[in-house]
């Protein structure tokens, strides 16, 4: 059930995408997300779909894994679609009782659905092919210029990597506590919304306590190894761009330029 959320989980494979510099992948993910909002026409989405499909193919991660990540947002997706479908003013298409589906509504709803699903799949590709460690490295390097504005770049990157690392741990913990409470006769499935919410208490209280305990332990372990933040800290394996990274930047630029052109001319 909850194990199906793939966001923040790494899938080991030997592929070009896995080997790319994390900075490239971060930039590409950001670029891809922006491109989804740049394009407004169906041709643009087809371009995005092709780009995404090629990347997924190259990454050697089974497509099933990406779709699993989608399950988590089905609910949000439904709300978005329903709201857009019924609440967008414009030319009426179908009228059901007091609700009207407009032509514009149907169009926005469909676009929103595509956008959101591409967004999730796109970011899953990044997290599935990049280890949390290299992701942090990449983030830190990319955000380094912000240091001029006194942004604690290293600390932010460290926090993000810890957060990412904790997702699977907490999921496992949730699963375990859930089972333990089910063994004591707890029921998480039946009943109305209020009953269901109340049934979450035996799950959430131990989960929070366990999260705090783990955070405490981790902090202690880091301090025991003299961690003091990013000041004067060097890397064992500093990031370096290679040939394939330059090519990837080229491809990304071409895709992005294409999207802008589609927006402007089509």
């Amino acid at each position: 059930m909850i194990r199906d959320i793939t966001l923040g989980q790494y899938y080991q494979a030997d592929s070009v995408i896995h080997k790319l510099d994390p900075r490239v992948k971060l930039t590409a993910t950001l670029g891809f997300i922006i491109s989804l909002f740049v394009v407004q026409s169906w041709i643009g989405y087809v371009a995005a779909a092709v780009f995404l499909a090629v990347v997924i193919k190259l990454s050697k991660v089974p497509f099933g894994y990406m779709v699993k990540g989608m399950k988590a947002i089905v609910f949000i997706l439904m709300i978005t679609v329903v709201f857009n479908l019924f609440l967008t003013p414009g030319e009426p298409l179908v009228t059901l009782w007091k609700l009207t589906i407009t032509k514009e509504g149907a169009r926005t709803a469909a676009m929103m659905a595509v956008r959101l699903s591409f967004l999730i799949v796109g970011s899953s590709v990044m997290t599935l092919t990049t280890t949390p460690n290299s992701l942090t490295d990449g983030l830190e390097k990319l955000m380094r210029p912000l240091k001029i504005f006194k942004v604690p770049v290293h600390e932010v990157a460290m926090m993000m990597s810890i957060a990412l690392r904790f997702i699977p741990i907490l999921l496992e913990e949730t699963d375990k506590i859930m089972k333990a409470q089910i063994a004591r006769g707890a029921d998480f499935e039946s009943g109305n919304l209020i009953k269901k919410a109340r049934a979450m208490v035996p799950l959430l209280v131990p989960l929070f306590i366990s999260a705090f305990r783990r955070a405490n332990d981790l902090a202690m372990a880091m301090e025991a190894r003299c961690y003091r933040g990013g000041e004067n800290r060097t890397k064992m394996k500093p990031l370096q761009y290679k040939g394939r990274d330059r090519i990837a930047y080229g491809v990304l630029f071409a895709y992005f330029a294409g999207c802008v052109l589609i927006r402007v001319y089509l």
């Binding site: 333990a180 409470q181 006769g185 707890a186 035996p202």
Partner: protein
């Protein structure tokens, strides 16, 4: 009245490349009132197996019968099964959540839909069974010591009055004194109520003293399933799968190896003491 596992297989991770065959063709009969030790190295599948026994995990293939009924049949009442087959997880103190000890123990019986009076009676009896003093009953469970928390958690399952009690590594992370106390209490409980107890552990030393039957698991299969003295005869094979026989077995084997005619199939220190004394007194 028994629990039967018939050709149970379980595969983790479905059809991905990461699939793990966690249980391979497990056949077991667990009759009423037995005290069983389930032993295996880390990752041998013992935790997966016990989660099958109360229906938390559905086997990939094979069936499980409780009192003759298939527990994965459409109309089978899983909740009732879980009250009859009580499972205490590893580090059970991590599941405590209520504002005081007593309320937490009430959680299980309350879920069974019992009356308030019955719930509280059971909770009180369960807390007494694990030997927790009254003064702790209305404290926050989070203020207790590790050993006390674990007793509260075990009481939480006992309060459901299970007919089979399964404890997954009940002594993990406890000091020797806490370990002996918990195990002694479990043995005493078994003595008083006559329920079936399954003790999951990776330490032979822990279980040898108490159980009447040992099931040894290795890589998802059952390696041995016999009375302790028979299982410990295979002490060399046990070492190969990352386990060990109790220390007395080694002492007796070493004595026998030096030509002293002692029995080598003793399982507890007390037995060994008597055996050695009798041999020396004969001389």
């Amino acid at each position: 009245m028994s629990l039967i596992l018939d050709h149970v297989n379980y595969i983790y991770g479905g059809d991905t490349a990461l699939a793990v065959h966690a249980l391979k063709d497990i056949n077991l009969v667990i009759p009423d009132g037995q005290f069983i030790g389930l032993i295996g190295h880390t990752g041998s599948g013992k935790s997966t197996l016990v989660q099958h026994l109360n229906g938390l995990i559905k086997p990939t293939s094979g069936s499980i019968y409780y009192n003759g009924e298939d527990i994965h049949a459409q109309d089978y009442d899983k909740k009732k099964l879980r009250s009859k087959v009580g499972l205490v997880f590893q580090y059970p103190e991590h599941q405590l959540f209520e504002i005081d000890v007593f309320k937490d123990v009430c959680f299980g019986p309350k879920n069974l839909g019992l009356s308030r009076q019955e719930t509280e009676l059971r909770a009180y009896a369960a807390l007494k069974q694990v030997g927790l003093e009254d003064e702790y009953f209305y404290q926050s469970p989070f203020d207790l010591s590790g050993g006390q928390k674990r007793r509260v958690a075990i009481a939480g399952v006992l309060a459901m009055k299970p007919e089979i009690l399964i404890l997954d590594e009940p002594t993990a992370g406890l000091d020797p004194k806490g370990r002996d106390e918990i195990l002694d209490q479990i043995a005493q409980l078994k003595e008083e109520t006559g329920i079936t107890v399954i003790l999951v552990s990776h330490s032979m030393e822990d279980v040898a003293k108490y159980v009447e039957r040992i099931i040894v698991m290795n890589q998802g299969s059952i390696l041995y399933d016999d009375v302790p003295r028979e299982v410990f005869k295979h002490y060399k094979e046990l070492e190969q799968v990352g386990l060990a026989a109790p220390q007395v077995t080694y002492i007796m084997q070493a004595l026998a190896g030096r030509g002293i005619p002692v029995r080598t199939d003793v399982t507890t220190i007390e037995e060994a003491r008597q055996e050695i004394c009798s041999k020396f007194l004969q001389k």
